[in-house]
Symmetry: C2
Subunit: 133 residues, 2 copies
Amino acid sequence: MFCRIAAGAAAAAVVYEDDATLAFLDSMPMIKGHVLVIPKAHYTDLGEAPAAVLGAVMQTVQRVMRAQRGGLKADGVRLIQSNGAAAGQVVPHLHFHVIPRFDNDGAPRGWAHTEYADDAERDAVAERIRTGL
Amino acid sequence: MFCRIAAGAAAAAVVYEDDATLAFLDSMPMIKGHVLVIPKAHYTDLGEAPAAVLGAVMQTVQRVMRAQRGGLKADGVRLIQSNGAAAGQVVPHLHFHVIPRFDNDGAPRGWAHTEYADDAERDAVAERIRTGL
């Protein structure tokens, strides 16, 4: 779907476009003004994107953030980016959600969290991550 | 606080470090293995970060993502990055949450969404963003 939007073959409310990236309104916004930023080239997720592509995408993300603050008078901006169905990714084309937030917008700000049983458990988890580096 | 961690003056379970960035476990994880990636230099949020710094941060984010998939056997990875109190930012030092997700981890995948009343409302919001570019 996002490839079709990038190719101009599907409609979208585009807010910004350059050679490498496209930014358009999410049709099911968490908050009105919620933008999706994608690379025009196809990458399934963040793990696959080369540094140059990711640099272009992040520059567009920054540009959209500033425009949400300036143009929409957003009080804050949240970025969400999901990789894999387990993380909530629905469309398998790398995309960043850039969501304008307002002081009393009613959407959640934080999330439920857990705790490590003790430092030993915490250090064991850190070590498992390090072995995957 | 994150400046003190970056300077080695506060303890953290570090999983990766290079000249420009640091990655360490969030002490209040959404899911165990939840990592924070920060630039060592101080920027309040994403709006302020120069492209080179952001490039280094995103490279570390990718590295951590791959390590969570490889080392922790995560099924997916979600990124969250908050700018401003209205977006849920608590510590005013740019940071990316890199959260390993598992098929049955019980944490939310999606979010409540709203809809534009009609295409005219949607187009008006897009236009307001474009004026802020």
